[in-house]
Amino acid sequence: MSKILIRGAKVLGGEAQDVLIDGETVAAVGTGLSAEGARVIEAGGQILLPGLVDLHTHLREPGREDSETVLTGTRAAASGGYTAVFAMANTFPVADTAGVVEQVYRLGKESGYCDVQPIGAVTVGLEGKKLAELGAMHDSAAGVTVFSDDGKCVDDAVIMRRALEYVKAFGGVVAQHAQEPRLTEGAQMNEGVVSAELGLGGWPAVAEESVIARDVLLAEHVGSRVHICHLSTAGSVEIVRWAKSRGIDVTAEVTPHHLLLTDEMVRSYNPVYKVNPPLRTERDVLALREALADGTIDIVATDHAPHPHEDKDCEWAAAAMGMVGLETALSVVQQTMVETGLLDWAQVADRMSFAPARIGRAQGHGRPVSAGEPANLTLVDPAYRGVVDPAGFASRSRNTPYEGRELPGRVTHTFLRGRATVVDGKLA
């Protein structure tokens, strides 16, 4: 059956409507649509969003398939309501050639759960010394549009300038992991009251802010666009706000965990809270929420960073940085932004679908829910309340800080070009 009628869903949180999917596209949106020949999904009380798009995912394949594969990662993405993810380049080997990005792209196509758009490395081997073949990656079957050394900062100002200039030729964007390396040597958590007490190396806010300040000025100087990954400090928000007011073409993202968690959690020395950039203070969290609400921060990106159990079940210093996020992102955004009144669902659609698709130039994603558009859709039950149990994750890894925590909302259905990848909260 190729027709599906979603009945009575609040499209982008608005009035209840029916949405008819026919094949790979949305055939009609309206009230009282005929269910003839269609499978009906009763969606009263649920929110229908465009399929979510994650501009910042680590799928680990090739090289660390013990943490995640493209298949398991895209299954996790579908579970979280995503229909497209951008896969970061810090794989083994690094995605710095047309060959590697095409491999990841092909694996995504084969997975069938979610479109995978590979991100290409800015520099060869993420070493920050020599530009990777950015044009070849763009011209490959993968059609790379976003370039990032994420996990490492492009800290050489000349290399960063050249990258920003070079990608203008094909409309690319450089996504910067802002971390001044010398200021963060030995850093293990946010520098402040808690790090002083715990005796853990401090990651000062200025190490992020100084790089962002430099990069927005470089982007202005060369007339290019720059995207800032995972903003984590109130100061970073101020710099991006200033840059936008000046007309600089900068976009920025925040992770769900930086909208909810603070460095106070590190007092447990539990490595599930070890992440880069580190969890910051309550003041930073509030500034990030406000900035996402007023549009200073354009999007929510998960920075989904899967790690095997043994890489986290150890002492803090030995633990890997990062946490999984695809399957809990929307719930955290609902709790921190919707239930606090900072965003409505239409704005959630913007921050988690329209805008990331626009920044990454994802074809067929982040489109309006209207007739003729690709049927990439996500249905959410906002009334649901449940305790997070990582045993049920589709991701191969379980390194979540939310285990045992109650979070609101549940993705009940996800559709990728009209095909249900999630049905009644379970992978199809």
């Binding site: 293990q188 520098e191 402040g192 009251v193 808690v194 790090s195 002083a196 007490e197 715990l198 005796g199 853990l200 190396g201 401090g202 000062p204 447990s268 020395y269 539990n270 043994e310 079940d313 150890c314 002492e315 803090w316 210093a317 030995a318």
Partner: protein, 325 residues
Amino acid sequence: MMRHLISAADLTRDEAVRILDTAEEMARVADRPIKKLPALRGRTVCNLFFEDSTRTRISFEAAEKRLSADVINFAAKGSSVSKGESLKDTAQTLEAMGVDAVVIRHGASGAPYRLATSGWIDAPVINAGDGTHQHPTQALLDAFTMRRRLVGRDAGIGQDLAGRRITLVGDVLHSRVARSNVDLLHTLGAEVTLVAPPTLVPVGVEAWPCEVSYDLDAVLPKSDAVMMLRVQRERMNAAFFPTEREYSRRYGLDGDRMARMPGHAIVMHPGPMVRGMEITAEVADSDRCTVIEQVANGVSIRMAVLYLLLGGNESDAPNPRTEEK
């Protein structure tokens, strides 16, 4: 008494005083011809040292043996740890072998806390120094030394350090000794001042219960005890201060500076001392310097901690009133 000893900050005033009082009793054992108590007979204590520290390990070992415990010394170097075995696996192996307590020294801040709280083992955990976090038995032995010198051996029983003014000088940023001492001395009622170049004071220190000064000469005349902290020479490469000579001039303790301290004031150092830089030989070798006493007191404190954590029978403890004839 608490189940583990991870941080000096975890001790209440009464718990800390109880440890100091018990240590005073334990100290008398050292004066006996046979320096041994039966308190931990049949108990096995493992000294789990992931980081080199001869003096702390020997101090714990001496304390354990004086309490008649069976002792297992585990050094990470040359062990399965160097072949990649994790802290968790190592701890669980030891527990399977039936250890009753684990004394752990680790280069990573928080490793003893993880060991004690992650469910990996059940045995009590005693932190013998973790990264730049805590070294609680060092703080206890320092407080014990101060109480003996500033209050008196017998007069000190049941007493804290209320109103005493203690100054810690040097590399606070990288010092687990400083963190532990600030916490414990505050709990015991002392007024603590940290003196260091601003580069060696942690961001966030404003939340600590102490004062901070960059001027050693201004603080010395009002100090009852001055504790010099070890400065690691490799710090100079990271531009924490310009030269060893400049550091010594501004923050080193020499005879002239010691003369500005009140007559009763003592000089302390957790050792090992960098003579000439942190402290001159004249000061280190003076009667006011308690470095050797601190070492001796360390054994008494560790005996007290082991005894109290392992639930030693009160009747096994030496009674000061009957011991002294």
